[in-house]
Symmetry: D2
Subunit: 341 residues, 4 copies
C-alpha cells in the first residue's frame, strides 16, 4: 500500500548501503574511536564552517535529546520547551526520567517565541522568591518543528540571545535539520546553525541513514567526560564506525542536503495539489511534513488508500493527518498520491 | 594491523548486508511493528521451543541491561551480580543511573554461585532488621561471562532456583550467548535457557549483526507498557525493521550458531597454540575470549604486532590481556597470530 | 512586625510542647516502631472510621508528596495535576527528580475537574497510538488547594471515580486538610476522605505540629516495602516517636480540628473586613488562605505594615497577595490587621 | 526495660526543650531565613574558626548524605566509600536512587585508608581505557565510623590530600562527630575538621537535638542554587527556625561537646567493666559505640535484660552486639548495665 506515513520507513540511501558492503572485511576499533568517525567529524566541521566543533555520534533521537539535555542542564533546573515540543509530548518522559522537569511555554505554529521565553525567565528575577520553583536551565527547540514549520535565522538568533541573557544554552534538535535548511522558506545555513546554537543535532535516521544522530557542540562546550555520560545513558554504540561511515557518506558530495531537497520538492508538489483541490493545510509548513485538516469522512477515505499519520482530533468532526515525504519518496509515489486526493 | 581486540570490530555477516540491499526499496512501519520483527520473533520462539515467549528488539547491550533490569527490579530493591559482572564494572553506572544499587557477590571464575546467592539473600530473613538495606530484587548473570567462562545447565538452573526461592527473577545477559552455547564445555541449549531464565538476551552486536539485542521474556512476564518503557529509556529504534531483519537472518538456517561456532573453533586453535608455547591462561575459558597472563615485556612485544585488549594489571610485573575471536575471524588471521606468539 | 505570611511561622500547639517536656526522660525504639506511633495510628484510624487504614508518618510535605507519588505511580506513567498544583509549581521539581512527569490540566479555581481528567485520559484509548506518550498513572489534588479553595464531597468523589475508571489511584495532599474540612463551605468529613481517596495526607506542619505529615493508605494499598522506600527517599525520621507523639496529641480531644477551625474563623473575620472595605478577593476561598488582588501601590503600602506572601503579578499594575491565618493567629493580630487595611 | 540500643532514643537535651517553650509565641519566616539559623550559623563558624563557612540545616542523616553527595559528585562519577560505610549498607540505596554508584574499598576497622584510595583512583589514569567505568568523583567517610572508631587528624588529612590529588572533594559524615572529637583517642578538633574536609556535617539527631544535621561547606564551595537542590531532594524543613534554634542552643556554652563527652565517659566505664569481665571487644572503639563479640547464649541472656543492637552474625556460634551510650545516658543506667554483664 502507498505510504506517506513517516520519513523513517526506508532503510538507507544507496550510497550508504554500498559503502557498508565495501567495508565488510575491515576491522575497526570500537565506540567511535575509528577513522570513519574522524573523517565524518572533519566533514561536518567543514560544512559547519566551525573547525573546532566537537562532534559525537549517537544512535537515536530520543536518547540523544535525553543524553544531551541531561548533561547540559544544571541539576536544579529544567528545560524550556514549546508545549508541542517532541521532548514534551512524544518521548515517553525520557527527559523527566533523567530527573529534569520540562518547562512548557505555548508555542506559535510549533515554535518558541524569544519574547515569550524572556518573559517566562524574567519572573525568576526580581520581586518574588523563586527558590522553590524549577529554574529554567536550557532551551530546547527543533528545526524543523513538530508541525513542519521552520525558524528563520533571526528568530533562532533571538532565541539564542534570550537564552544567553538568562545564562542558558540553546539546544536545537535537528532530527529533520536537512528538510528545514533546504526548505524554500528557510533563510539559514548549517554554518548559521553552528554560529547560533550552543549544541545541535544533525539527524540521520530520518534523512538517509539507517540510524544515527550527530551531536555538534559549537563552543568548546562538551560536558566533561561526555563519552562516559553517553555510555551511562545507554547511548554508546559498540560499532561506532557504522555511525561514522554513514555521516561521512552523507557529508560527501553534499548528499545530506540533496536528499533533503528531494523530499522538500516532493512535498511542495503535494502541497500545490492539495491547495488546488481545496484541502485545508493545518499549518503553513514548507518542509517535508504536511498537516491537513480533514473531516472524519475524508480521513476514512484517505487512509483506506494510503498510509498517513494520525496527528490529533481537532473536534468531533475533524482530525489532523500528516502527509510525510522523505529522501526515498519517488515521483511515482507522489503521482499516485495526488491522483487519489 | 592484525586485530584480536574484540568481537565487534567488523560490520556484519554477509547474509545480513545482502538482505539490507534487497529491502532498500521497501517501506515499513516504525518501532518494531513491522513484518520482519514478527518473523524474527517467530523464529526465535521456535529456536527457544517456547511458542509464547515475548521477544523485543533493542539496539545495544548496556541500554538493554539497564532497561530490562530497571523494569523487572522492584523500586526498593537492587540487582545481585558477580563482582566482575559487566553491569558492575563496565557500563559506566548505567544501572545505578536508573536508581538501583548493584549488589555484588564475589564470583568464581566470573560466575555467581547459587549457594553464595542463597547465603546473601538469606540474611534478609530472620533475626535482624534489614529494612534499611537494599533488598535483593533480581539476579544478573551473563552467559558467557566477562572472563569467557560458561555456566553449565545445572549451575544456571540452581541459580534460577535460588532466585525464585527468594522471589527474584533471573536475568541472563546473552551478549555472547551463541559463543557460550556453541562452546565445547557448555551442556545447555537455547531451549534450556528459555526454560531456566525468566528473561534473557540474545546478543546480535557481537555475533554477526550490525547491532541489536533480542530480549526474551519466557513466562508471560513482560513488564506492563514495556514499549513505552523502552522509549523512556531511549532504547526504541525508529527503524525497528532493521533489527527484525537482522535477527530473522541470524535465525535462518542456524546462522547465529554457525557464526558462533566458527569463532569458538578459532579460539580453540589459538588456545592450543598458546598452551603449546607455554603461555599462561588466566581462566579456563572455552569460548571466544581467551585471557592470558603475561609479563610486561611480553605484553609490550605482543601489542606491537597485534591489537589485543588490556584487561587489568595483576601486579607490578604482570598484566592480563585478552585475545578475542569473532564470527568474522579468518583462518589467515589465526595463522598469523599463532605465528607471532 | 505583624505577620500573616504563612501558616508555618509558629513552633507548635502548647499541648505538643507540653508533652515533649513530659517524655524527655523516656527512651523509645526508632523509626516509627514506638508506642506513640501506634497510639496515633489508632486514633487516626478511628477518626477516619477506617480501622484497617495503614498510617505512616513522614517529616515534610514535599518529601511526602514525592515519596508517595513515586511509589504509587507506575514507572511508565506520570501524575495528573492541576496546572496550579503544588507539585507542579512549588516543589522544585522533586517529583520529576524521581523520574515521573507531572501531567498538567488547567484547573478551575485551583481545582481539577473530573470531566477534564476524563477527557485527558480518554485520549489514551481509542483511535491513536499513544505508546510514545507519558500515560496518566495517578491523580494528585490538594484539599484545600493552592488558592485556598475546597473540593466538595461530590467533586472529589467524581474525581476518584474518573481516576478509578482509568486505573489510577487518587492521592490527596492534605497539607491543609484541617483548614479545608473545618471551612464553612466544605461538606465532607475526614471519614469521607478516607472513603474517597486511595491515599491522602493529614498535614501537621501547617496545622499545629512542629513538623510532620501523616500518610493514610485507605485500601490495604501500601506499596510493598514502603518503610524501605521511605528511607530510600530520605524521609524516614530516626526519632519517629516525635511524629507519633505529635499526631497522638493532635488527635486527642479533637485538637486537630479545633486548631483548624480557629484559623478558619480568623480568616472569615478578615474576609468580611476586606469586602466591607472594598478589596477584591482573587478567589472565593473559605479557608485560612485569602488571596487579594491589589494595585502596586496598595501592595507597597500593605507590606510596609504586615508580612504577607507575594503570590504573582497579574499585570503591570496589579499583584496578588496572600493573607494567611493559622492555628496560632490571635484575636489581637486579626484586629491589628483589620485596623490597617 | 534498660536500653543501650542506640543514641537516638531520647527526645532532646533539656536546654532545647526549654527554648522551644520560650519561643512558642514567636513568628518566624520559613525555610531557614530566620534569625536563629543566622545565629547558629555564626556560632558554628566561630567554633570551626572559619568565619566564611557556608552552613545549612537539614533534617535527617540519610537525606543529608544523599543531598550533599548528589550535588558535589559529577554526574558521570561515583562516591568512594569504605565497604562498611553507612551510605553503602544502611541507607536503603538512597545515594544510588540519585543515580550515583557507591564505589567501595575494603576498610580497616571501618576506616578508609588513604593509600588504598590512591591505589583505587590511580587505576583511572595511565595504561588502560576507563571511559566505560564509573569514575571516582567524591570521597565519603564518617567520623566516628560505623564501628565507633575514629580517624586521627593525620589519617583524615592524608585522605583529603589523596582526594584532592584526584580532583575529588572529601565529605565527612559527622552524624556522631561530637562523640568522635571528644573521645580520648581523637587528636583533632572541630577547627581541624573545618580545615581538612571540603564539606562535613555536624550531627544533631544523635547528639542532643530532636533532629537536624548541620552541613558545613568550608571553602566557598556550596553548589549553585543549593537551597533549591535541598528542596528538590525533599530535605527543606518549612520551620527551619526549629533547626536554627536547636543548633544555636547546642553551640551555646559548648553544650554540643559537653553532651558528647558525657556519652563517651559513660562508654568508657562500660568498656572497662566489659574488659574486666572478660568480654571480647570486636573493635577498639573509643567513642559511644561499643561492639562486643558474644556467643549465641550470651547474646540471648543479654537481650532478655537490656535492649541492644544486633550488628551481625559472625559465624554459627557468635554474633556482634552493640552497646550504645548517648548524651542522655544516666549513671544509674550505666550501673545497671554493668551489674548485669
Amino acid at each position: 500500500m502507498l505510504s506517506f506515513e513517516n520519513d523513517y520507513s526506508s532503510a538507507a540511501a544507496p550510497q550508504i548501503l554500498d559503502r557498508l558492503q565495501h567495508i565488510a572485511a575491515e576491522q575497526h576499533p570500537g565506540y567511535g574511536s575509528d577513522q570513519y568517525c574522524q573523517m565524518a567529524t572533519e566533514k561536518i566541521r567543514q560544512a559547519c564552517q566551525n573547525p573546532e566543533a566537537d562532534v559525537w555520534f549517537l544512535t537515536g533521537g530520543t536518547q540523544t535529546n535525553a543524553t544531551v539535555l541531561d548533561t547540559i542542564t544544571p541539576a536544579y533546573a529544567g528545560i524550556v520547551c514549546a508545549d508541542s515540543g517532541h521532548i514534551n509530548v512524544h518521548e515517553a518522559g525520557a527527559v523527566e526520567a533523567t530527573g529534569h522537569k520540562v518547562l512548557t511555554i505555548p508555542g506559535k505554529n510549533g515554535k518558541l517565541v524569544a519574547a515569550d521565553v524572556d518573559d517566562y525567565c524574567s519572573q525568576f528575577e526580581g520581586d518574588a522568591n523563586h527558590t522553590h520553583m524549577v529554574y529554567p536551565g536550557s532551551v530546547y527547540v527543533s528545526q524543523s518543528t513538530e508541525y513542519g514549520t521552520v525558524y528563520s535565522r533571526d528568530e533562532l538568533a533571538a532565541l539564542a540571545q534570550v537564552a544567553h541573557d538568562h545564562g542558558m544554552p540553546l539546544y536545537v534538535d535537528g532530527a529533520r535539520l536537512g528538510y528545514a535548511l533546504e526548505s524554500s522558506e528557510c533563510d539559514m545555513t548549517l554554518a548559521d546553525m553552528a554560529m547560533i546554537a550552543d549544541v545541535f543535532t544533525i539527524g540521520g535516521t530520518k534523512q538517509g541513514a539507517l540510524f544515527g544522530e550527530a551531536v555538534v557542540f559549537t563552543k568548546h562546550n562538551t560536558p566533561s567526560h561526555f563519552l562516559t555520560l553517553i555510555k551511562q545513558h545507554g547511548a554508546l554504540l559498540a560499532k561506532g564506525f557504522l555511525l561514522g561511515l554513514q555521516f561521512d557518506t552523507l557529508f560527501t558530495d553534499n548528499l545530506y542536503f540533496r536528499l533533503a531537497k528531494h523530499a522538500d520538492d516532493a512535498a511542495e508538489r503535494i502541497r500545490t495539489a492539495l491547495l488546488s483541490k481545496g484541502y485545508t493545510l493545518t499549518f503553513d509548513s514548507p518542509t517535508n511534513q504536511i498537516m491537513i485538516t480533514v473531516t472524519n469522512e475524508q480521513a476514512d477515505a484517505l487512509i483506506k488508500q494510503v498510509r498517513l499519520s494520525f496527528i490529533e482530533r481537532l473536534d468531533k468532526d475533524h482530525v489532523v493527518l500528516r502527509i510525510c515525504t522523505s529522501w526515498a519518496t519517488t515521483d511515482e509515489q507522489v503521482d499516485a498520491l495526488i491522483a487519489l486526493l
